[in-house]
């Protein structure tokens, strides 16, 4: 339970910090008109809202009022947080966005699907087959069906894959 409290403090702190940033950065906005409300007023209001709710969330946490984690069909409330899987998924997304410009969308997308499905417990070879099929189908549909070409990368010039 200690870690849940730490996280709540951190999130409340983050909200308040975004608020402080809003308030500070808003002072750099140039306001010219004298009588009407300029481009600063609304950011100030948003900043105040964030600072107040962020601090209130910290106080609520200190008084032991923690938030209730959301319920969902596929969520098992009785198991402990599986941080490793969350980290793997984040890593897979990072790899995907780094690789798009290097090897092209189809390969990056296949790796994203394969990595995510595998991290979540799928059989590796089945995940790999579905990943490759899915990436190729989407690439072809985009190029020929929607007329939007995703970067083909290493498949540049290959018929069908390079739109």
């Amino acid at each position: 339970m200690i870690s849940a409290k730490v996280e709540e403090y951190a999130f409340g702190g983050l909200v308040a910090a975004v608020g402080v940033f809003t308030l500070v950065d808003a002072t750099t906005i140039v306001a010219r008109d004298d009588n009407a409300v300029g481009p600063r007023a609304f950011p100030y209001a948003v900043g105040v809202l964030l600072v107040v709710t962020g601090i209130a969330a910290i106080i609520a946490t200190a008084r032991g009022k923690l938030g209730h984690a959301e319920e969902a069909e596929d969520v098992d409330e009785n198991v402990r947080t599986d941080w490793l899987t969350v980290a793997k998924l984040v890593a897979v997304l990072v790899v995907h966005l780094v690789l798009i410009d290097v090897v092209g969308w189809p390969v990056a997308a296949a790796l994203l699907f394969f990595g995510a499905a595998w991290s979540l417990g799928a059989v590796w070879w089945r995940a790999l087959v579905i990943a490759v099929v899915l990436a190729v189908v989407v690439q072809v549909v985009f190029a020929y069906g929607l007329g939007l070409s995703l970067p083909a990368g290493i498949f540049e010039g290959v018929p069908f894959l390079d739109g």
């Binding site: 909200v15 906005i29 209730h68 897979v92 417990g121």
Partner: protein, 498 residues
């Protein structure tokens, strides 16, 4: 009478084979995302936004409306047949529907949900047809101060009145408002909060935020506590087309409709409130209250009807005022804006053909949904059994694809990931995500209206409250807040004494 003619013309447009196909595509996708855990209509509409830029606006909006209605139908199938609670709007259905399914009366539960949704959806769409043009006529006369009042009401109800923690709702709203601030100020043309990054000058795209918070946030959250093991789907049993079925269902359907529609219409709703009220009403009026909690069909029929009627009700402020009161409605407003159309009172004069084709497609979509969800329900049972690793991997893939397809820049994917991680922590700690999306879409509109009000009044702040309409709106809001606080205090007291 004018609106009847206009509606008939709308039917003429919507009944063209091309538009019928788009409607079918929309309701099928909608039912699928309603059935599947982990994705909802808001995220699906957001994902499809970049892909539909090549379509004409009417076609795209018909698809989105189909997804919106379809999501409401699909959710009930999941909550009746899956052993775990479902999407918030259908949790009440799960109370009785799940019990019915376990007792071998699954067919009756599914049928009363589908037919009830159809009856409520159709009646509510008729009410929308009759009311919307009249409200639009009145709304044309509203000034900027009145819009500010409506938005303040919407902000407060979405963030603070719904959901279990008003504080966390307001914090979520604040984050959404902040994201909405990033970019170029429309009135003075200067950049705000862009940190000097050039891609931020156009602001953070609504698609990226909605997909990040709904798809990536949800996928990470589910992954952190994934329910392992086989997916337990209750087999569909029993007969439904019996005299008892109809005699016990028809009154709850109608009552649910007339509870749901008004609640959807005023910016104090969301489908959940209406389902709880309908459930309570059915329990109170039932001749067999002892059956509630053990599988009473009235407890499925009423809330399901209320749920769909509320969904149609939400379209009233959306189309006539441009005011979204749910996350999905907010994303649909963004869809309108991406086509350069501002939903609001002028929609019925400036884009009359489009809006009536859209309304006509709602009638058609409801008929399609009845077919998809009654005789064809077995297909969705199969969809429900997709192994979760592939489902969530697919959600992540399409989230990344949809985001990348907005501008074809990798920077958007970085923003997607950051917002996804924020959405993950919000779910862990009970911060609702809907206020964030509503704040993001309504925030810039609210700022513009506030500044216009004060420009007209030359800086006199009292102009914000002196218009009669605005004064009444703030008055109602104060009453609502007082009632909410009293109820909360009472509940706390009763918890203490118990």
């Amino acid at each position: 009478m004018d609106s009847i003619t206009a509606l008939l013309e709308g039917f003429a447009t919507a009944a063209q084979p091309e538009f019928l196909l788009y409607a079918l595509l929309g309701v099928t996708l909608g039912t699928a995302v309603g059935v599947l855990p982990g994705i909802g209509p808001a995220m699906t509409v957001a994902l499809l936004l970049p892909l539909t830029y090549t379509l004409e606006p009417t076609a795209a909006l018909i698809i989105f409306a189909g997804i919106y209605y379809g999501g409401m139908y699909g959710g009930s199938t999941t909550s009746i047949l899956l052993n775990t609670p479902g999407e918030s709007a259908s949790i009440v259905t799960a109370l009785e529907g799940n019990k019915m399914a376990k007792a071998g009366r699954g067919a009756a539960a599914l049928a009363t949900a589908a037919i009830g949704s159809f009856v409520a959806g159709t009646i509510a769409t008729i009410l929308l047809t009759l009311l919307a043009p009249t409200i639009a006529d009145v709304a044309v006369q509203l000034g900027p101060a009145d819009y500010v009042a409506l938005m303040v009401v919407a902000f407060t109800t979405v963030a603070a009145l719904l959901g279990s923690s008003p504080l966390r709702g307001l914090a979520s709203l604040g984050l959404g408002l902040f994201i909405g601030l990033v970019g170029t100020d429309t009135l003075t043309g200067q950049q705000r909060f862009t940190l000097g990054v050039s891609t931020m000058a156009d602001g953070i795209d609504v698609v990226v935020v909605a997909v990040g918070v709904f798809a990536v946030g949800e996928a990470l959250y589910v992954a952190s506590r994934l329910r392992h093991g086989p997916i337990e789907v209750i087999p569909v049993g029993g007969r439904w087309n019996t005299r008892e079925f109809w005699s016990r269902s028809w009154k709850p359907w109608l009552r649910g409709t007339f509870i749901g529609f008004p609640i959807g219409t005023v910016p104090a709703g969301g489908a959940d409130v209406s389902t709880f009220l309908s459930y309570g009403a059915e329990k109170k009026l039932s001749k067999r209250p002892e059956e509630f909690g053990k599988g009473a069909i009235e407890g499925v029929a009423g809330p399901e009807a209320a749920n769909n009627a509320a969904a149609a009700g939400v379209l009233v402020p959306l189309l006539t005022l441009g005011l979204p009161t749910t996350a999905t409605a907010a994303v649909i407003v963004a869809a309108f804006q991406s086509y350069g159309i501002q939903p609001g009172p002028l929609l019925f004069t400036n884009n009359s053909t489009m809006v009536w084709a859209l309304i006509a497609s709602l009638y058609i979509g409801n008929v399609m949904l009845l077919v998809l969800n009654l005789p064809l329900v077995k297909i969705w049972v199969k969809v429900l059994q997709i192994p979760r690793p592939y489902l969530y991997a697919g959600i992540l893939l399409f989230a990344a694809l949809g985001t990348y397809a907005v501008n074809f820049v990798v920077d958007d994917l970085i923003v997607l990931l950051v917002i996804g991680v924020i959405g993950f922590f919000m779910r862990r700690h009970g911060y609702p995500v809907a206020p964030l999306v509503v704040g993001l879409i309504l925030g810039p509109m609210a700022e513009e209206q506030v500044r216009r009000t004060l420009q007209i009044s030359e800086g006199d702040f009292s102009a914000l409250v002196t218009s009669p309409f605005a004064a009444v709106a703030y008055g109602i809001l104060i009453v609502l807040l007082t009632v909410a606080v009293v109820l909360r205090v009472r509940r706390r007291k009763s918890e203490v004494t118990v």
